[in-house]
Amino acid sequence: MTLPPALSHAIVAFIVLNALLVLVAYVTLLERKFAARMQSRIGPYYVGRPHGWLQPIADALKLMMKEDIVPTASDRWVYNLAPLVFLVPCLLIFATIPFAPELGVADLNIGVLFFLAVSSLEIVGLFMGGWGSNNKYALLSAMRAVNQIISYDLPFIFAALVPVLLAGSMQMSAIVTAQQGLWFVAYPVIGQLAFVAFLVATLAAENRVPFDILEAESELVAGFRVEYSGMKFALIQLGEYAHMLGTSFLGALLFLGGWLGPGPAWLGPFWFLAKAILVFLVVTWVRWSFVRIRVDQILGISWKLLLPATLLLLMATGFVVALRGAGGA
């Protein structure tokens, strides 16, 4: 018996989506434990021994039971839609990520392009939330968000294009296959620079400290989500962490060889997950040790430093690939 392709795709998507949601929930626990160790604390502990393993579930239940507040002065349609508009692209980015050869929702031949395009869409939800809340903090935060994401999408894309050039394909599985001999992070000079640029741009694209000016709880209280409560707040949080996890997967795939690793083939997805978690932890490590920088400084770093640097890097990669092609052929 064979299922119609549409149905089988739907089933796979359903499984991946649910697995992801659980993973995202536990990534929050991981971050909390990690941050706690950095700050000489213990972190979640009592909700589910050992080490608070039930904490994410307790949090989700709590958020579901919270009152859903819609400010009277808000633009109701925009306000209510924003969390969904924010969440959908954040989950959609996983569509093209193969977790192992042949294990993924859709291994498009323009996978990287799809990822980059869809992940930029989250700004629409962000801005809707900030605008629809009709709150001055939220509005300022939404303005900052647009500034920041537009500024950092370009370096992010350029850094992500370096492995694409090296592999000569936009298909995620082809990029991994191209790393059989040498992971791109180990590619002389270009690989390391691109990886660092990718991490910095990732921090900014994910709105993490030191680039979390749109959340900025000491200035803008909670930024664009200051008015959200209950499940809508949970959806926004979920979207943020999903986006973060997705970008970590992308980093692991583009630079750290995806599912490649010693051992039998079935270990592949676990290698991939471990690498993605490693990228995630590096980002978390930066988050919990830096202070936030100012909006004008953030824009300055992007336009004056990161953008020209990644552009040059991309050009250099192009030369390297062209020379390699000329020499090899």
Partner: protein, 387 residues
Amino acid sequence: MPDTLTKQVVEVGYGGNERLMMNMGPQHPSSHGVFRMILTLEGETVVAVDAVIGYLHRCHEKLGETLTYVQYPSIASKTDYVAAMTSELAYVSAVETIAKVEVPKRAQYLRVIAAELQRIASHCLWLGTWCLDMGGALGGGATVFLYCIREREMVLDRFEELTGARLLYGFHQIGGTRYDLPPGWDTKVRETVDFIEARLDEYEAMLEENTFFRVRTQGVGVISRELAQAVGVSGPLIRGSGVSYDVRRAEPYSSYGDFDFVVPVETAGDCYARYRVRMVEFRQSIRIVRQALDGLPEGPISSRPGVKSVGQVRVPKGEGYARVEGARGEVGCYIVSDGGPKAYRMKWRGASFSNLAVLPHIVPGHKVADVVAIMGSVDPVFGEVDR
């Protein structure tokens, strides 16, 4: 009723953009208590700031006139609850000035130890909350904050052993101190300050070698020397603006003349300069604590016999002012006595109050994010501002 005269609106070049009035406080994560700033923004730039205080007013000066000299020192600590020893000391010193009470040498040294430990504890909280303002509760700022709180807790543990209280002590009394050192306390204090001294190097490495910290603090919120003197700021603020002024040095009280310490001065006047001043003060306080513990004389801890009722301490007719160098600056207390068991009139000079007055002069022209950095570097405690 808005009073137009008290509004401080400083114009900086108006680009013809739309302005946004934003309310920061009285309930705001970085308001350090209950302080309300009405900011006028052009985009992200602050063009005017209107400061509103008074949300924590508790009639302290009136309380000082209704409570007796025995009762009030423990209430005095509630003016600046982050550095409670300071205001107690200012109050009892003012009363001692009027009554011409001699304070035994041992009590003077104990007061110095308490005051300097208090300065360490207060600066710990300042550093933590300031980094929290800049780094966020979900970021690197929280890391520094938790480290600082750990050190502050150690000092508070020592205070608990000394007085039985962790926040509001009631350690001072007219004529001396209320408690003598418990056995073994000095060793513990030495261990505590050794620990904190080692940690300070860690903080400096963590913050000063961090480019993001430097770009957030250097050149931000510059108080010029002239402005500092005109507004009347004191403490780390005036020392960060190039004025070497410290009450402990200018007018030594409670045997401060016996100790060897440096008054740090920075000339830049920005947030970073104030940070440097406080970091040096940390170390100088540790130095003073060690010297005081080494040279602690034997003898009585109070020149006044114990009293059975709160009205028994009477002070002759007269008036007196005493000032001490608190963690935030000069804390003064003015008392008029009519010869009874209570002050006839009492007036506080809060360091935070005068320091806060500089905000409308330095905030306009900065970005919103700088407002919280400047605010944190001023280190106000609203118990002391509103009293």
